[in-house]
């Protein structure tokens, strides 16, 4: 029983580590001390009932949480061993390294597709050396290039919802991030667009650490290597998706994923 089963993911180095993370909105405690690790080149899914703190959690991982007035975080979030919650760390730099894709596709309405892809850079005053190439590369990686290569001057908002979401992923990729956070990226998409994004996640997984928040158990089971179940601001269970979806340890997890609520 010492050998590892053949299909087990091989151990990956740790990209991020969260230690005793507590997140507040004013006096309200939204995360009550979360500790977990995010491995390199793996997909980690965050699941749990509405309001349990999933979005708050991933927003702490790129210092987006503190943008909300009155919100603050305690504890530590290590990125490659360095605590990014430290005062000496530039949040803008963190957000470049840890990119985020939101639930609602949110391309900038007045910008063209091309401008949207570059927006993360230009808004930060960065001029890429070869913008045309970066646009093409990012759109290719986001599996959108073939559909838009002849109309890069169209506005981003003229695309379909699924295309807009891939455009947002391209915008995130143009910043050459190391970690990608996705907050319910498919909740506004049809099954085909969802399958495209999931296929894309499989590809991106080869190079990035990915965290995805989802309300779909099937999606978490399909895309994730590891799954973490949050409940009322606490991490209840974190394990391989294989185990979580066939034999979870906690009865809380079991009740939630099988649809036995309260």
């Amino acid at each position: 029983m010492t050998s590892v089963p053949p299909s087990a993911p091989e151990p990956r180095p740790e990209k991020m580590r969260v230690e005793s993370l507590r997140a507040y909105f004013g006096d309200a405690l939204a995360l009550k001390g979360i500790s977990m690790s995010v491995p390199e080149r793996c997909v980690t899914a965050i699941i749990g009932p509405s309001g349990c703190g999933k979005s708050t959690f991933i927003r702490c991982l790129n210092r987006m949480h503190e943008v909300t007035p009155g919100a603050r975080a305690e504890g530590a979030v290590f990125l490659d061993g360095k605590n990014i919650l430290g005062d000496d760390v530039d949040p803008v730099d963190v957000r470049r390294r840890v990119g985020m894709v939101f639930q609602k596709p949110n391309p900038f309405p007045t910008m063209s597709i091309r401008e949207n892809v570059l927006a993360g850079l230009t808004l930060n005053g960065i001029r890429p050396p070869d913008p045309a190439r970066l646009v093409e590369e990012s759109l290719r990686q986001a599996a959108l290039w073939d559909e838009v290569k002849d109309s890069l001057d169209r506005t981003g908002t003229s695309l379909s919802g699924g295309q807009q979401q891939r455009l947002c992923i391209a915008r995130c990729l143009a910043l050459e991030p190391e970690v990608i956070l996705m907050d319910e990226p498919c909740s506004a998409l049809d099954p085909i667009a969802t399958a495209r994004i999931e296929e894309l996640i499989h590809e991106l997984r080869e190079r990035f650490a990915i965290l995805i928040v989802t309300h779909s158990m099937q999606q978490a089971a399909r895309v994730s290597d590891f799954t973490a179940f949050f409940y009322m601001g606490e991490l209840v269970e974190h394990g391989t998706a294989d185990v979580i979806f066939t034999k979870p340890t906690s009865s809380r997890t079991e009740d939630y994923i099988t649809g036995r609520f309260g």
Binding site: M217, H238, G239, T246, K247, R260
Partner: protein, 240 residues
């Protein structure tokens, strides 16, 4: 599956699968019981009637398979529900085979009844009764999700095997004594073999109940090299 589903229709579908599996199990039990009586009481009519009731088992198997497939497609179950449904699909296969074996017993009983009795089949009836009790107990264990009871059923398989070996030795002496005994002795031996296989299937059911409840595969325990086992060593992420 201690708590009920929030979706009552889903809950109802799972309950229906459970009820149908139990109905099928009870039907096999009933058939086995009748076959043993037909043997002990030399009742060929009962044997023939029992053979006909295998139709019911076959129909139930098809019905339960269909039901499970529909629930799998519709609900995409996970965790205990997934284990329950995949085990139900396997359980019915074993139950259906057991039904076939009971039919085989009845065929041999009819053949035996056309000859004068070889001897009273006391040990054979005992063996069949043990198999019957095992089946009854494993269905109870399935209903209650009782791992300890399922494990006790699995242990009893050894008793049946021992009884089979003893019956086999006795029949050999009959056959060696007089070649005219061979026709009947081989029939009796076949019946004993069918009962022994029924007990094996019951043991499979016991293993399925354990997997359903615990999520732990106990089949071929200790006999497979560990990397071939379906079981995951640990559910922990690689680094934590």
């Amino acid at each position: 599956m201690n708590r009920a589903h929030t979706d009552r229709e889903y809950e109802g579908e799972l309950r229906r699968v459970r009820e149908q599996v139990l109905t099928m199990g009870a039907k096999v039990e009933e058939m086995l019981d009748a076959a043993v009586r037909a043997l002990a009481e030399r009742d060929s009519d009962l044997a023939r009637a029992t053979m006909a009731s295998d139709q019911v088992i076959n129909r139930l198997e098809v019905e339960i398979d269909g039901l499970c497939l529909r629930v799998l497609a519709k609900r995409q179950p996970v965790a205990s529900d997934l284990r329950f449904l995949t085990m139900a699909l396997k359980l019915v296969t074993d139950l259906e085979r057991m039904g076939d074996l009971v039919v085989n017993i009845c065929e041999r009983v009819v053949e035996l009844n056309e000859e004068p009795p070889l001897k009273p089949y006391v040990e054979l009836v005992t063996m069949a009764e043990v198999a019957h009790q095992m089946l009854h107990a494993v269905l109870d264990a399935f209903l209650a999700g009782d791992v300890a009871a399922a494990e006790r059923v699995i242990e009893r398989d050894a008793d049946v095997d021992a009884l089979y070996a003893s019956i086999f030795r006795e029949l050999l002496t009959y056959m060696m004594e007089n070649t005219r005994n061979i026709y009947r002795a081989t029939r009796v031996q076949s019946i004993a073999k069918y009962v022994e296989r029924i007990a094996d299937h019951t043991t499979n059911l016991g293993e399925m109940v354990v997997f359903m409840v615990r999520g732990k595969d106990i089949r071929h325990s200790g006999r497979l090299p560990s990397r071939e086992r379906g079981e995951r060593k640990s559910g922990r992420p690689p680094v934590s």
